[in-house]
Symmetry: C3
Subunit: 257 residues, 3 copies
């Protein structure tokens, strides 16, 4: 049985100009003073469930077992969308039921619970009134995931685009352009991968690239397998997105040697 | 008697491009290693005391009793403006005496102390040299609020605009436009409020709105009572400020049914 | 012998739009649950080693002895650049060997170790796979600096511009423009300094300024000795960089009275 680590990560689209995230932490500390908080990200584009899901799925496995991931990207706050608590592997999640856990729970084997919304919760800030209390109680071991409400199966999924393999070819798409301008795809590869890479998008000439091993070797554009096991297009000391002109949704095709 | 929670919140206009906030935490940890920090916000527009006061007043009550709120928006640093420590309700505050605690202390009953500025403090960074040590000593229980200096009454207040009630009407103004573009007013309402809402500003046509209960129901513009108990104008999945063209200072009038 | 404080500061150019910093914290908490994290800054311009070095050098001395400063500005990640652990004064540092510790170690007396890169580390995220584990092990006292690898001398330095003294004159340059628009120079002065100050840059008329003691007295432009002991040009309640037209690299000359 997974034991709570006492750690709560926070992932929201609240930005950092108002004290919304801080107030959630205040509420949690009021319930359990000894919690440890780790901010994952708060500058998710407003209401961008897919972006939040993508990164939460990549980040969660790096935390100790029994960590609670509190994820509040919640355009449906105050409607009858459910509040959920999930366990998957040894990680726990607290989030609105809108698909934001799709990537984190994609491996299968998740147990998802329909959490009761407390009386008197506001209709505009469930992060503070619903999700923070749930996260604190799980992380502080005053509740187990199964205590919050009935298990259920039909929780919301969004369909992240999936890379398709066809013999010696894989075709995928750019999922995000990161802070450094690198183009991160949905193509999962082992780190020794070799082959020819083509990148394209409507209205742009197709680009032929080779693999390299590190950003420094990427020159004016190359593919590499990044630290998340995903194919990424980079430019040495430059912003690949800007230099090459591609962005989210561009297709990438690999033909293995 | 309120006991220190060991929590220090931080609210500044220091931004996050330099290590100013981190250095304040380093100074505090040097005095009391076990403190818990919660960042409230650091992207307050430079020197914007009113914005800081508004949000501090809304955020502070959500923290456990004996929390120290360290607020450094301090255009008068290094002059003879006082440094103050305040207790109000069960929350403690450390700030320059420039009005930034106006909203937090508005309820009345505050006790405010004129804290001694230590010898050798710099003239440009009292956050590090004056306020952080005070906050650490309060949070770490090596000082009580009354230990820092004499109590006094004429601490600085700024006058936040106050909504005016006239029979079945209330008239207020937009105080801030938040990260999601929502227009947050100074009109405090119970959550079941109903009535007609008008919004206006010089040079713009007046807009008639109705109340809704959640952001999803706001359509192309509606009023709701937000999680701080304030009337707010929102647009479903959009930025009300941009869509409707109103900003800080626009007037809002409610006529109850 | 310095004892670990259990504090890890983090300074990166990762920005805050992805969970890169959070994942480093997750890895560290997996090795040592009780660590305390302080974010120094994460919005270092991408790959700007000089900017990171400047602020790390100013910030580190304000932390308790035995603090680990984890600094990941690492354009050479995945190449054969070394990973290093350093002790200087009573502060510890973990960073790539690219000069980013130049200012922090400038005082002399540093002991620098060439840390072994673990098998299986990714080639694109040594912050997570190399530096975070090192920092956690030092802060959690499962390793001492000398345990990570052999001591060595020829670690990378960058040459920050140094102010030059010539009789009663000092000439330096603007190193950074801070969040408030203040122009921070490399001229180190005692806080009572007096004299005439001139600022200039190619293509701009030279400006004559006097000293003041606090930002409020800076009027339309004055010099003061800031909280880091550096000469700084400020404008009262304004952005000196914008108002005066000078930026990084502008020269500043003081002639003492």
């Amino acid at each position: 049985m997974t034991v709570a680590s006492g750690i709560v990560t926070l992932l929201t689209d609240f930005g950092q100009r108002e004290p919304f995230v801080g107030v959630m932490k205040g509420v949690m500390l009021g319930r359990h003073p000894g919690l440890t908080f780790v901010d994952l990200m708060h500058d998710v584009p407003a209401h961008d469930i897919a972006f939040a899901s993508f990164w939460l799925g990549n980040a969660a496995p790096w935390f100790p077992p029994g960590t609670v991931h509190l994820c509040v990207v919640d355009p449906g706050v105050g409607t009858n969308r459910r509040a959920l608590v999930a366990e998957c592997g040894e990680q726990w999640f607290v989030a609105p039921d809108n698909g934001v856990l799709s990537a984190a729970l994609a491996e299968g084997g998740a147990r998802v619970y329909n959490a009761t919304v407390p009386e008197g919760a506001s209709r505009t800030f469930h992060g503070r009134d619903v999700f923070a209390p749930l996260a604190a109680d799980l992380a502080g071991e005053s509740k187990r995931p199964g205590d919050v409400g009935p298990i259920f199966e039909d929780w919301a999924r969004i369909s992240h685009p999936v890379a398709a393999r066809n013999g010696e070819r894989i075709r995928g798409v750019v999922m995000v352009v990161d802070h450094f301008g690198n183009l991160i795809s949905n193509i999962r590869l082992a780190s020794g991968a070799r082959g020819r890479v083509r990148v394209g998008a409507a209205g742009l000439p197709t680009l032929d690239l080779t693999f390299c091993q590190s950003y420094s070797e990427a020159g004016l554009g190359a593919a590499l397998v990044n630290a998340w096991g995903l194919l990424e297009i980079a430019v040495a000391r430059g912003r690949a997105g800007d230099v090459l002109g591609f962005g989210v949704g561009a297709w990438i095709e690999i033909e293995f040697d």
